[in-house]
């Protein structure tokens, strides 16, 4: 027993000594960047990971100091932001609309700190007279917050065109996590792209799983069940589709696994290039609709470093590289040329994507 007490006492003393020296270590004068993730975590292979890729690039190329904090529940958002504020972080990157309110609150209380929020922009009340600082975060634009938004329908349009050009069965499919604009924007562009292909080629490719006209389609109701991804893919294949675009984060990996096993369908990845993020499914990935959050985040950090950071709204488009389509697997030179032409049409405004 005596030995035991000794060991415990030694441990306590050690921890006290160490905690005393734990606090210090102030950084140099490098620009400090901190990213607060939403619930998906830093290695979600999507949203948070892509945004952090931008931070990592800035660390490598601009010499900034970058780190992240993961949120495991709603109450962590404010806490993690506060942690970065306490460390005198220069630019805080928050990811996702769930952090909208806490980001606005912190931004107002700390006007000297800059913020960039992914997939959100103030004001964000959809014409609803919500209370200031409540559900919508802020009813006015905040001068120290840059909202990073993406016109993903432009890239979805290209994906729809590529899918229509690649299908053997004349049917292509898509499904989403839940029926909300950030998800359905992919699907709207996708359907439009297919329709455009039909007009141009006199084809009759059919889209399953989404109709812009009805504003409804197939939704799994979640962003985490790989089983749902599998069963949705299976039923779409039974209905005759051979290209599927799952807009539901990791759910799509379940679909990819099904396609790989059955060999009966191809997948269009979303958010990032899936041949990189999920390389094990490369053989069934047709292409990916990329929301280049890394580009947007990197640009925001670069502006911070250059001293040109300005609040407001950044809109990622095909033109500025904020959104894009990955290489289409096995595409003919003809299809590549067509996609380039369509892309130009979207950029110069002659083709509508919504």
């Amino acid at each position: 027993m005596k030995k035991l007490y000794f060991v415990m006492a030694a441990l306590i003393v050690a921890s006290l000594i160490l905690s005393a020296c734990g606090g210090g270590a102030a950084g140099g004068d490098a620009v400090k960047v901190g990213q607060v993730t939403d619930l998906g975590g830093i290695d979600d292979k999507s949203f948070n990971a892509t945004a952090y890729a931008g931070v990592e690039k800035a660390v490598a190329e601009l010499g900034v100091e970058g780190k992240y904090l993961e949120s495991t529940q709603q109450a962590d958002y404010a806490k993690n932001i506060q942690q970065f504020l306490d460390e005198d972080t220069d630019l805080i990157v928050t990811v996702g609309f769930l952090l909208g309110v806490d980001t606005a609150t912190a931004a107002k209380a700390n006007p000297e700190t800059n913020f960039a929020i992914v997939d959100y922009a103030y004001p964000d009340c959809f014409g609803d007279p919500s209370e200031e600082g409540k559900t919508c975060g802020s009813t006015t634009e905040l001068s120290n917050v840059l909202g990073l938004t993406f016109q993903i329908d432009q890239a979805g349009f290209l994906a729809g065109y590529a899918a229509a050009a690649s299908t053997q069965t004349g049917k292509v499919a898509t499904f989403g996590g839940i029926n909300i604009p950030p998800v359905t924007a992919f699907m709207v562009g996708y359907e439009k792209g297919v329709q455009y292909y039909n007009e141009q080629k006199g084809a009759e490719v059919e889209v399953l799983g989404w109709s812009t006209e009805a504003n409804d389609g197939s939704f799994t109701g979640n962003f985490d069940s790989l089983d749902d991804g599998r069963s949705f893919a299976e039923s779409f294949v039974q209905e005759g589709a051979d290209v599927i675009m799952p807009v539901a984060g990791p759910v799509g990996l379940g679909s990819a696994a099904y396609c790989q096993e059955s060999g009966s369908c191809k997948i269009i990845g979303v958010d990032t290039d899936w041949t990189v993020s999920s390389a094990e499914y490369t053989d069934v990935i047709l292409t990916s609709v990329m929301k280049n959050m890394n580009v947007a985040v990197y640009d925001a950090i670069k502006a911070q470093v250059d001293g040109t950071f300005k609040g407001g709204v950044y809109s990622g488009t095909l033109a500025n590289g904020g959104v894009g389509l990955a290489d289409v697997a096995g595409a003919s030179d003809e299809l590549k040329a067509e996609l380039d032409a369509v892309k130009q049409g979207i950029i110069d405004g002659s083709i509508a994507t919504k």
């Binding site: 734990g22 529940q73 709603q74 109450a75 942690q83 209380a109 959809f126 919500s130």
Partner: protein, 395 residues
């Protein structure tokens, strides 16, 4: 504990009691220490310095003395509170994190006392959060003195209802509560998904509830960003009430008797069925309070991913606290400090937050298998009555 073997005739009783308490505390304390050591090994293996990590963990959960002193100095000389707020932030934030743990831990502990294994605390937590949020945002124009208690009560009742269903099924049909509470969890998760996307959704497309009215918020003691609120003291009060209920009332005695030996309790004329339902009602209510305290005190709205698994951690908590309200409060504080300090550890030492889950997991293993601890530290087992945690199938 060498003095246990030499009981003096007069001072014997007191001495015995003290050493029994020490025995009672020994295994949990050693389990926590061992968990931390294993955690340190994992950190070291992953190539980081465990001392730096635990230093940051400590600073993140309690704050650093230097900051305290500096904060007070600046406050007294200039009246500027900024540094002081920064200094007390970690400690208060740990208490904020501990609050739902206390409620949820009490919920599971109460079940254990009656021989019921309430795995459903997480679901009851969700339902309690949603019902209290509903009361919080749907009623408008009430004074706080009415609205706040109503919202708290709403949360408790929501959780209680969710707990009563498996309790009733167990009492009436003998359906095992473990299976049913797990099922009720899933129903609660899916129900909350639906509610957040439908009836309870704020205007706009996002799956979140509207903010609760200010009159339903648990008052905070300091200005932003400090979130320390009345909920913590309510939790302590409720812990005392649970203690009083279990150990000072006839009903509490009945519940413990049913837990210890249902056949004997039945023979003694106690109503087992009623006790099962009652305990699950109360346990559900406590878990519901955990959800309510989180909504009304910290978040003020509910979105998807509202809980970080408080209800599941609560099972570990109750085991660590030996299903005694005081033990639960202490374990909840430990979990709260670990969870809260982890933010600092993650940021300053770049240790993933998951390490905390590993430490918690190890602690639970050591609690569940105390022989490992006894063997590791050469502690002899004392023959005594163990609290019945749960009975097997079909009894």
């Amino acid at each position: 504990m060498s003095n246990t073997t030499a009981p003096a005739p007069d001072a014997g009783k007191k001495e015995k009691k003290r050493s029994a308490l020490a025995q009672e505390l020994l295994v949990p304390v050693l389990a926590v220490v061992t968990g931390l050591i294993v955690g340190a090994i994992v950190i070291a293996v992953s190539g980081e310095n465990p001392f730096v990590a635990y230093g940051a963990l400590f600073a993140g959960s309690f704050g650093t003395p230097a900051d305290f002193i500096e904060g007070f100095q600046i406050y007294f000389s200039t009246g500027e509170t900024r540094e002081l707020v920064k200094a007390i932030y970690p400690f208060t934030e740990s208490l904020v994190t501990a609050t739902p743990y206390i409620f949820a831990g009490l919920s599971v502990a109460l079940g254990f006392r009656c021989g019921l294994f309430n795995i459903g605390a997480e679901g009851q937590f969700f339902i309690g959060a949603l019902t209290s949020a509903f009361v919080g945002y749907s009623l408008k124009g009430l004074p706080m003195i009415v609205h706040l208690p109503l919202a708290i009560l709403g949360g408790a009742l929501g959780g209680a209802l969710w707990g009563t269903i498996p309790g009733y099924l167990k009492a009436r049909f003998g359906a095992h509560e473990v299976v049913n509470t797990i099922m009720m969890n899933w129903i609660a998760f899916k129900l909350s998904d639906w509610l957040l996307n439908g009836p309870m959704k704020a205007s706009g497309f996002r799956p979140v509830t509207p903010n609760i009215e200010p009159s339903a918020e648990l008052p905070r003691f300091f200005a932003d960003p400090l979130r320390f609120n009345l909920g913590f003291f309510i939790a302590l009060l409720v812990a005392y009430l649970v203690y009083w209920f279990l150990f000072k009332t006839t009903l509490g005695f009945e519940i413990r008797s049913v837990g210890a030996n249902p056949d004997a309790a039945k023979y003694a004329g106690m109503n087992i069925v009623r006790n099962f339902v009652l305990v699950m009602f109360l346990a559900g209510g406590l878990a519901g309070l955990a959800g309510a305290s989180q909504v009304l005190g910290v978040d003020h709205w509910v979105g998807q991913g509202f809980s970080a698994g408080y209800g599941f951690d609560a099972i570990a908590l109750a085991l660590l606290g030996k299903s005694h309200p005081l033990g639960v409060v202490l374990s909840a504080l430990l979990f709260g400090f670990l969870r809260s300090g982890a933010t600092d550890m993650q940021s300053m030492a770049r240790i993933p937050i998951d390490i905390i889950s590993i430490i918690q997991g190890m602690v639970i293993i050591f609690i569940a298998a105390p022989d490992i601890i006894r063997w590791l530290y050469r502690v002899r087992a004392v023959k005594k009555e163990e609290t019945v945690l749960t009975r097997g199938w079909g009894k």
